[in-house]
Each structure stands twice: as C-alpha cells, then as structure tokens.
C-alpha cells in the first residue's frame, strides 16, 4: 500500500481491524461539528445510539476501554434508560470528534480523572430517554392512542389496554420523523433494570480468546513496524547518526529521524529491533544530563527550609507552633513512579496526502486527532482516529508522544507504520508521578487533639509543567488531598513550593492523592500514637465536619473487626481519604517477617462512590487499585542518574505478583449521592493503611516510599 491508497481501501483497512468483534470501529460519520447524517431505516436521534429496522441497538461509547469497564458501564446506562435488552446491544467505540463526543464537563475528548460515569451519566440518560420517548410516541401514533397510555419494556412499546406490542425495530421509520424532545422524563431509579445491579463485563469474550484488538495488534495492509532509538537523557537531541549497519539488516526498510529519535522501520518488530541495535547515534544530551535523584532530593531539602506559597491557612498555625509547646516534626518523601501499563506504548498511523488515519490505544482521542492534524497540516476532520482496546491506561495514555512517533514515521516513509515501544522504552521514557518532599509540624493540646498543623510540600506541579496551570500559581494536582484534608484542626497551614527539575511529569492513577493520601494519613496516625489514642477513634473524633469520610471509616473498621484479636504477629492499620468524587477507607492487616519482608494479608475497603452503577465493577476497580497502590508502596521507585532513568524492566521496577496478593474485601456504602469515580479512589489509602499497620507491628514509622525492608529487619 502506498500514499495513493484509495479511500475505499482505507476503509477496508480500518474495518478489517475490528471485523468480527462486538466492539467495532465505526467509520467516522459526518464532518466535525456537523449534525449526524440521517440514514433511511436507522433511527439515530443523537450521537449516542441508533436502532435499525432489525431492532439492533448500537451504542456509541466515547470513553476508551482501558480496563475500567467503560464498554459495560456505558452500555448499561444507555440500555437501561432506553429500555433496551443489554445483552443484545452492540457497542461501538466513538471516533475522534470532539464536537460530538467531548466530555460535557471537561470539554475535551480526553479521559482521565475517573470521569467516565460521573461526568456522562446525566447526558447519556437524557439521550436515551429522548429516544425512548420518541419510540413511545411513534407507537402511540401508529395505534392512534394517547402516548400516556403506552409503556416501553425490553426493546418494545406496549399498549396494555389492548395488548398491542411493537418492537423498537418496527418503529424506526416513524420515530425518525419525530422531533427530538429536549427535556425527556428520566426513569425513576426504582425502575432501573441494570443501573445499580451487578452486571458482568461485556468485553470478557474477546479478552479471554485473544480476539480483542489492542493498539499493538493493529494490522493494516502494507503496514511496516518501527522501533525508535531515543536519547537516554530527557530532552536530549540527535547530533548525528550512522544507519549503515542498521539498513543492512535484512528486513529493515528505512531509517529516519523523527522528533523523538531515530526510527528504524522494518517488516516486523523483531527486525526493527535488530536494526536499532546496529544503529550508531551520537546525542546532544543537553542540560538534563546534569540532573540526578540525589541532586533533586538536595534541592527539595533546601527549598523546604524556605517559605512556600500558602495553599490553605486556617487560624494561625505558625503562632501556635511557636508558642513553646512540644512540636512533633516529620518529613515524608515519595519517589518518581512510572505507569508500566501492561501493553507498552504504541500507535499506528497512515499519513496520506489528503487524509490521515490513526489507530491508537489512547485515553485521548481528541488530542490524538489534534496532534495528527498539527503534524500533517491536515484539517482535523481529515484525521480519523480509531481507539483500540487499551492494555492499561492509568493516565499514561493521555499523552501524545506515542502518537507523534507513529504520525511522523508514517509521514516520513509514506506507508502505514506501527511504532512499538519496548518495555525498556516505556519505563525510561515515561511521564512520571512526581517525587515530593513534605515537612510536617504539629502540636497537640491537652486532650491530645491537634492544636496546630503545618505542612510544607515541595515538588513539581504536573499541571504547571504541562502548561495547564499558570506558573507561579498553586498546582491543584500537587496539593489535592492535603489542602482539603478532612480533619478538624483549628490552626492549619498548608504551603507548597514548586520545585521542577525537568523530569517529565504525568498523571499516575489517582495523581496527587496517590501520594498525599500516604503523607496525611501517616501523619495523623503519628499524632494519634503521640496522643496515646487509638488511631481509628482518633480520626473519628476529628471527622465531625466530614460525615462521608467518617461513614466509610466506620464501615471499614467494623467490617475489619477493628480492635479484635489477630493471629500473633499480625497488626492492623487504617486510613481514609476523598478523591475523584469518592470516599474510601482501608484497613490493612499486615505482618513483618524477621528479615523485614512485609506481607499484607488482608485489605478491607469501604467505598462511598455515591450511586454505584455497577457494584461488581466497583469491587474490581477497588481490587485493582489495591494492587497498583501496594506495588508502589512495596517496590515503586524510579531514580535518575545523569538525566537517565536507572530502571528498565520488571526486574528492577518490580510489580506485585499473585503470591503477594492480599485478600481484598470491598464494602460499598450506598449514600444515594451523585456518582463518584472508581478507577483512582482505591489507591490513596492503601499505602498509609499498610504503613500504619507496620508501625503497629514494629514501632517503625515508614516516612519514605517504597518501604525499605532493611529498616524493618530485626536481629
């Protein structure tokens, strides 16, 4: 296939990818922003669903499926409000078209922040309710009865008085003629058939048979496969390169320079790797070659001695702390972390003179379209984006670097190209969860209650580095879950200092709260012990203004039998936090071996995520969040030496494995509130619950992650 590919062939290529799957790639419909084209015999009242004359309901899912279950949840919501039969509903992944498919809250077609359900629920219900009303009206018109006398059920409209019944498919032509109601009546929750009930994932069949198509599995006729040699130092540039030996490798077709390095383009990935190995590149390493982890820590320490920007100031903490009472001080540090999605980064692009197609496992289809448009000079509507399944996202796949790789390489060689990363590329060229340094000071009053609390946080701001917040302001992501910590403290001062040494930053599952939950929930535990109080009761007494925190804390403690005897050597720790719209508490049951090895036996979680659309998925996400968080607590650490990441694969950036998996119990508190997030809120409280349990077992306070087992060794 060459640049003269016809549009027909292109569509065939595109469709071939999704052929035979429940989850197909739709052909992009309509121009950007234009109304949906109406097709005879297809009832499509809006961009979210359509019904054909056979009664087949197709739902368009705008939220990429990255494991969080969006294919299931989105179709549950729409099928329920539409009164369709969920098992028979087809799901299509939305094309990039922000005018039609943007998140109504963020205004972009980019997904992160556990926003799938909470931002879309109302809109999807309304879209489906409008369709349901139109189908009811169409049936009423057909029968010549008032619309109030008909009802919908399970893919049909019925008229009970006469016993008449028409399937949705039979109403398509009539419904198509009707105006779309702007304010349709929503179902009352007691009529929900799927929402709030445990529903099994709908994408399991293709995920257990190998049929599911991830980005890395995309095959386009004539496609080449590339691997890119990148500068080991962040921000480094190619000075020169010698491709002689690389091009001699059988199967290597091109060696081209792109923004992110030198792309070796071949007939397959392994061949591309052989070519890459034979490549000689001289780098201009640039200023980052001076940066290392020890230097970053030194800079943080120095910055922590100076006042920061004030993120919150209740009362006068400084005055109370200076009043001469006993001040408890602690420093908490967390490292840089990489996402390590199970599927390494990749994308496939086909750049043609007048169009571009991208197949990508992306959390950000809108951004992908914009990136490809920018790089090709094409208008966005000439860029088609097929979002494949994602082998994990965790925030990493909202970035554009792997899209840039594919579009630039395809453009350079004039053929469709899949650029695949090795695991080593993935770990050494990530967007890292920021390392931070946090100074705490507190003093207790006579009752042991915090009279004053001071936190000074030092670290880089993700939003500021990405230009999404202004330099000089307080980065909301950096201070989240500290600035809004829930405890009742009369004199509370939170400061933040932006110290950015240039390590590329990214949104890592639960972002700020992933680390801030650890520091706050560990420090409050310190204060409880200092006061000689039970850490659970101590928190409870300070949560008077935060009833939802208190409720999940109590639920977790009760279900974990807080205070009841445990096997010898086992101890409990507790933690609670709010993030992404949900309240979570964890009780960890832990033991520490003589050699310092930490074993988490059991994690009892309580979550108030408001309306839990799919309770089964709430559990799955909490289980997954626990593993992600435990991995970070026990092992996660990215270190930098001379501007290079020192870790490279799972031997030196280990992951939790099945033999270390605790029993995870999840208890859902149905508060009746608006839905909160699920993917991220399960992370923040795991590390502090475990570390608080370690303290209970050993008297050792873990203030630096990952947990250093050497410090926990007993003679």
């Amino acid at each position: 296939m060459n640049a003269l590919i016809t549009r027909r062939a292109l569509l065939r290529g595109g469709l071939a990818v999704g052929a035979g799957l429940t989850v197909g790639f739709p052909v992009a419909r309509g121009a950007r922003g234009a109304a949906l084209a109406q097709t005879a015999g297809v009832f499509a009242p809006n961009q979210w669903l359509r019904i054909d004359r056979d009664g087949v309901v197709t739902i368009v899912n705008s939220v990429p499926e990255m494991g969080q279950g969006s294919l299931t949840t989105t179709s549950m919501i729409i099928a329920d409000e539409l009164d369709a039969i969920l098992d028979q509903v087809r799901v299509e992944q939305a094309p990039a078209n922000p005018a039609l498919y943007k998140n109504p809250v963020t205004g972009t077609q980019s997904y992160g922040g556990s926003r799938g359900v909470r931002d879309h629920l109302a809109m999807w219900r309304k879209a489906a309710a409008a369709a349901r009303e139109m189908l009811a009206q169409a049936a009423a018109d057909e029968w010549g009865v008032p619309v109030e006398s008909v009802e919908t059920e399970q893919g049909a409209v019925v008229h009970r008085p006469s016993g008449r019944r028409l399937l949705y498919g039979q109403l398509v032509d009539r419904a198509q003629q009707l105006p779309v109601p702007q304010n349709p009546a929503l179902k009352s929750p007691d009529k929900f058939r799927y929402i709030g009930k445990p529903v099994k994932r709908r994408d399991t069949p293709e995920k257990i048979t190998g049929r599911g198509i991830y980005g890395t599995d995309v095959q386009v006729p004539g496609m080449l496969v590339a691997s890119i040699e990148r500068c080991p130092v962040f921000g480094g540039k190619v000075k020169s390169f010698d491709a002689t030996a690389a091009t001699r490798v059988k199967g290597v077709k091109h060696v081209v320079q792109v923004s992110n390095g030198i792309a070796v383009v071949a007939d397959g990935f392994w061949t591309a790797l052989q070519g890459r190995r034979a490549l000689r590149v001289t780098w201009d390493e640039g200023p980052m070659a001076q940066v290392s982890s020890t230097m970053i820590t030194r800079e943080y320490e120095a910055a922590a001695k100076q006042p920061g920007q004030v993120a919150r100031n209740d009362g006068d903490a400084e005055k109370v702390l200076a009043a001469g009472g006993r001040v408890h001080e602690a420093v908490y540090q967390v490292p840089f972390l990489e996402h390590a999605c199970m599927e390494p980064m990749n994308a496939t692009a086909q750049v043609m003179p007048d169009a571009c197609v991208v197949w990508a496992p992306t959390q950000n289809p809108g951004g992908t379209q914009a990136t490809a448009a920018r790089l090709t000079g094409l208008p966005p509507e000439k860029v088609t984006v097929h979002t494949t399944l994602l082998g994990g996202g965790f925030g990493r796949r909202g970035e554009q670097d792997f899209i840039v790789d594919a579009v630039e390489t395809s453009k350079a060689v004039g053929a469709p190209v899949k650029v695949m990363w090795t695991r080593e590329d993935d770990i050494t060229h990530g967007f890292y969860r920021p390392a931070t340094y946090n100074l705490f000071r507190a003093t207790l009053d006579a009752r042991g209650v915090p009279a004053a609390w001071f936190t000074r946080m030092v670290g880089p701001g993700i939003l500021i580095q990405k230009g999404r917040a202004q330099a000089g302001t307080i980065d909301a992501a950096a201070v989240e879950a500290v600035r809004n910590m829930p405890y009742d403290v009369p004199n509370l001062r939170i400061e933040w200092t932006n110290k950015d040494l240039g390590i590329p930053l990214g949104f890592w599952r639960s972002v700020g709260p992933s680390q801030n939950g650890f520091i706050i929930e560990s420090f409050i535990d310190e204060l409880a012990h200092l006061a000689g109080k039970d850490p659970y009761e101590y928190r409870r007494a300070l949560l008077g203004k935060s009833p939802r925190h208190k409720a999940v804390l109590e639920l977790a403690a009760t279900r974990a039998n807080w205070g009841a005897p445990l096997p010898t050597g086992h101890t409990r720790g507790i933690a609670v936090a709010f993030s992404y719209g949900s309240y979570v508490a964890h009780v960890a049951e832990v033991s520490v071996a003589r050699d310092g090895a930490v074993r988490t036996h059991r994690l009892v979680a309580a979550i108030d995520a408001g309306l839990a659309v799919n309770p089964e998925n709430v559990k799955a996400q909490m289980e997954g969040g626990a593993v992600y968080a435990l991995t970070a607590a026990l092992y996660g650490r990215i270190t930098i030496d001379r501007g290079r990441v020192q870790q490279s694969n799972f031997h030196d950036y280990p992951m939790l494995r099945i033999n270390e998996m605790p029993v995870v119990e999840v208890h859902i508190l149905d508060s009746g509130e608006a839905p909160g997030g699920l993917g991220e809120p399960g992370v923040p409280t795991v590390a502090p619950a475990v570390c608080n349990a370690i303290y209970a077992a050993t008297g050792r306070r873990i203030r630096t992650l990952p947990i250093n087992r050497d410090e926990l060794k007993r003679a």
Binding site: I208, T209, G210, T216, M342, P344, M420, R423, I658, M661
Partner: protein, 154 residues
C-alpha cells in the same frame, strides 16, 4: 524455513532461527492473541504451550521449536469454552485484558498438570504472570472454579 505446528496446523515459516517464537506467532502468522510485555521472561504475557508445557515465547528462539507443537490462546478451545475460559467469564476476571491470554495459558497448563491445585500451587505456577490491573484475586478464584468445572462439577 522452520516448520512447526501451531494450533494443530503445520506451518513453514521463513524467519531467522534466533527470532523469538513470539514474533513469528504475532507477526508472521498473524496470531495476535499472544502478547508482548517485557521480552525478558519477566511478565508472562507471551505464555504459550510448547508440546503442552507453558513457555515464554519472547525468549524461546525459533530454532528451539522446529518440529514441535505450539498452542496459543487462539488454539486453546474452538469456542472460548475451555474450563479456564468459562471460569474466567464466571468470575469476571479481566480488566484491560492484556495479560489475560498469558494468564489463561499458564492456568490451563497448571490444571493439566494438577487437576486440584492448592493456593500454593497457584502461587508457584502463576507468579510469573504480571497483571498490572490487579486481577490476581479473581484469577485465584477462577482457577479453583476451573478445577471444579473440569471435574464436571457444577
């Protein structure tokens, strides 16, 4: 030319003998169910059966598989109804799903060798398979379930 049987079908593939089996399966034969995760036998995403034994295809050179029989996730069952796959569905194991073909191939090999695995057996056989989404609890439950299904239990 190297000849090998994949999912019961004899193939002649023209690839270098040092090429890992993983890439011949995925790119030469187009069977993309077997995944790449690390390339160093550290994650198990590439697990296939070689003459019935689980191996990491990313470090198994083609020279070592000549004349042998390989089963990939696509060949585990015709309809996705191997007891392990049925159990995986019942227990709702997958999240992103990327690791699951490897997990399932490891689990199927375990059950073939040990029809009633203990938790310790599961730890032994499955700790080479990473799941970044954290589905381990369900994997354990599903393996026990598959053992019951295999014995014809309800």
């Amino acid at each position: 030319m190297i000849s090998l049987t994949v999912n019961g079908k004899l193939h002649q593939v023209d690839v270098p003998p040092e090429m890992p089996l993983l890439w011949a399966i995925r790119e030469t034969l187009g069977l993309t169910g077997t995944k790449y995760g690390c390339g160093m036998a550290l994650c198990g995403a590439c697990t296939v059966h070689l003459n019935g034994d689980p191996v990491r295809a990313c470090v198994t050179p083609m020279s070592a598989v000549a004349g042998k029989s390989v089963t990939t996730i696509e060949g585990l069952s015709d309809k996705g109804d191997h007891p392990v796959q049925r159990a995986w569905t019942e227990v709702d194991v997958p999240q992103c799903g990327y690791c699951q073909p490897g997990q399932i191939m490891s689990a199927a090999a375990l059950l073939a060798a040990k029809p009633s695995p203990t938790d310790a057996d599961i730890d032994d056989a499955m700790s080479g398979n990473i799941c970044r989404c954290g589905t381990y609890q369900r994997i354990r439950a599903a393996i026990h379930r598959a053992a019951a299904l295999k014995k014809g239990g309800a």
